[in-house]
Symmetry: C2
Subunit: 369 residues, 2 copies
């Protein structure tokens, strides 16, 4: 039985466990705490920034992958010396550690992006603002932002003076997008690459609230354009595992890249119920070097809605009685305002009804954190 180590004990690692059981893989989790969501498969509890701990854990497995992208590159490079396979590689992951590195890499690949520049002491800020099309524009802290944190839409540089004082700030054109999509795919060692159909992601306050799969109204030419884009990134960066490319769709039907993630991603949760192969299974197949599964959908439409804040455990029964087709995933996390603590998936034959059912289930179990 192939041994796969997962750094991080969060909900993504947790959702890899069912896939591992079905695939017959031995998944071992390096968790941050005893009560992590993935504690069932935890064989180590410790600090992922500690080379010695990660190396000892890595020596027990054949391939190392991730629940999150926070392991420092230096740690991974030192661990790799021992011979363990790391997927995705430290070089690929570096793109997700620093948004400026990501923008530079995508520019080198000539991938369509919003216009961008970096506010730093050596350049003229006015020129950078002009480069990205003037105000309003989008300012991003290069490191550590997520779920709308570290991102501000600004009308003047005064609004990011606190960030500028700390180091370089990424400035991006505020593109007039009509919607946001996620292009989720998986690439295996050796280059086998399998995409799911693009999905539409709907955000509230910068946090994904709903995912609609497939994204409505796509032509086959549009899908081909999306596939070409994400395959280019997957191949050129040499990603192994799931890749999520978050893109903006522009009024002319073209897309530009917003963000990258190199692991199972919130936008791909819907595939667990909608696709023959879930993103967790596909990620494990890719990193364990098993042929990738079919990404076909088994229903015409699927909807995923995130639960933020907290889940009222006692209310789950009522939700299931009213919406027996809802798959309510509870990550087992303590409640906190804005925290992703679970999600609901409903599949069906028609979008409006399916979305309404998923939202109904969510509203029954959700309580503010």
């Amino acid at each position: 039985m192939k041994k796969v180590g997962v750094i991080g004990g969060g909900q993504l690692a947790r959702m890899m466990i069912p896939a591992a059981i079905n695939l017959g893989l031995d998944v071992q989790v390096f968790a941050e705490a005893e009560d992590s969501p993935a504690s069932l498969a935890a064989t180590w509890v410790g600090d992922y920034r500690d080379v010695e701990q990660v190396s000892t854990f890595a020596a027990r497995v054949e391939v190392l992958t991730f629940d999150h992208e926070h392991v420092p590159t230096e740690v991974l490079e030192q661990v790799r010396v021992s011979g363990v396979v790391i997927a995705p590689s430290p070089e690929a992951l570096a793109l997700t550690h620093d948004k400026i590195v990501m923008r530079k890499s995508l520019s080198a690949l000539e991938v369509p992006q919003p216009r961008w520049g970096v506010i730093e002491p050596s350049v003229s800020s006015a020129e950078v603002v002009e480069e990205v099309g003037g105000f309003p524009c989008v300012a991003k802290k290069p490191i550590g932002g997520y779920d709308g944190k570290g991102v501000r839409v600004i009308d003047s540089l005064q609004e990011i003076e606190d960030w500028i004082a700390q180091g370089p700030v990424l400035l991006e054109e505020k593109v007039p997008f009509v919607r946001e999509l996620a292009l989720v795919s998986a690439r295996r060692h050796g280059g086998e690459w399998v995409p799911w159909l693009p999905v539409e992601t709907r955000q509230v306050d910068g946090v994904c609230s709903e995912v609609i799969a497939p994204a409505p109204g796509m032509s086959s030419a549009f899908i081909q354009q999306a596939d070409t884009l994400s395959r280019l990134i997957a191949d050129e960066v040499g990603i192994v595992g799931v890749l999520a490319v978050e893109v903006f769709e522009l009024p002319d039907g073209s897309v530009v890249v917003n963000e990258l993630a190199m692991r199972p991603h919130n936008s791909g949760h819907v595939f667990t119920e909608l696709s023959i192969t879930s993103q967790f299974e596909q990620h494990l197949r890719a990193v364990a070097d098993i042929p990738l599964g079919s990404p076909s959908f088994t229903s015409p439409v699927g909807v995923m809605v995130n639960i933020l804040g907290g889940i009222e455990s006692a209310a789950k029964d009522a939700a299931w009685r009213v919406v027996p087709e809802a798959k309510i995933h509870d990550y087992g996390k303590t409640a906190r305002a804005g925290r992703k603590v679970g999600h609901v998936v409903v599949t069906g034959s028609e979008l409006e009804h399916t979305l309404a059912r998923a939202e109904q289930a969510r509203s029954l179990v959700n309580r503010p954190g």
Copy 2:
């Protein structure tokens, strides 16, 4: 988080783990050996015939359920004194321990069965043979048979002299069935009851080889008849959990009961990929007293084929390359002639193609034990 204890560490317990993760239940397994298929969730390794061990294990959980039906009734009755909920109950399980007890109970419920009688010293064997319609008829050891073991089609009593010397033997009419079906459903504490559509089971040498879901060519009247039958048994026996009623379909479209199982059953494996709610999830919902999920199918047809003997691990890659839509479940058991070591499910829109694909995947990975 509700704690559910599962006695038995086999593949059924193993397949409950993904469902438990998704439902947010804490499943703990009482396994027979360290390397059991369900070892990931094992919190006890020991002997399920030992009251003290089972009681200590039971004290840690809120409800006790089963991977198999072998726990002696006396053990369960003593364990229940401590207050743990046992689902299904020892009284219900008693029907599965002894086929003569099952026949008597079903007769009391006036459920359609093959004609039956018991060969024992106090009665005339010739009369029993006549009661069941003469030779050929079916002889069954009342206790311990499974997968065709302990069952013989006989033309004379000489063929079961060895069994008669050991105790009572159940004799049953050899009914002229046109096919075998399984009626799988789940019943919750309090009586909520949800069936899946009946499935057709195809046996080779007395062992289930393929399951076709739904069973082809059923009228709505036929489905209603099947539902009425299995609900009657579930309610009257007071089952909590999954109930599988194996039936013979006769040429006139009526059905008679062959066997009962009170746990997730081989015939229900297809629902993991075909239904919104798998039998493992539904079983856990029923025993943990959570509203039952939707049994709707997400594809027109699903096929499950058993893998007997052994699985050639190295051949799985080839199978996945050729049949990427196949879900190959490997129970992680050592190979042995005739042993169920895994199964394959394929879902699709048309039976012949779907069955052919599942069989193709099986033939690529299967090797004689």
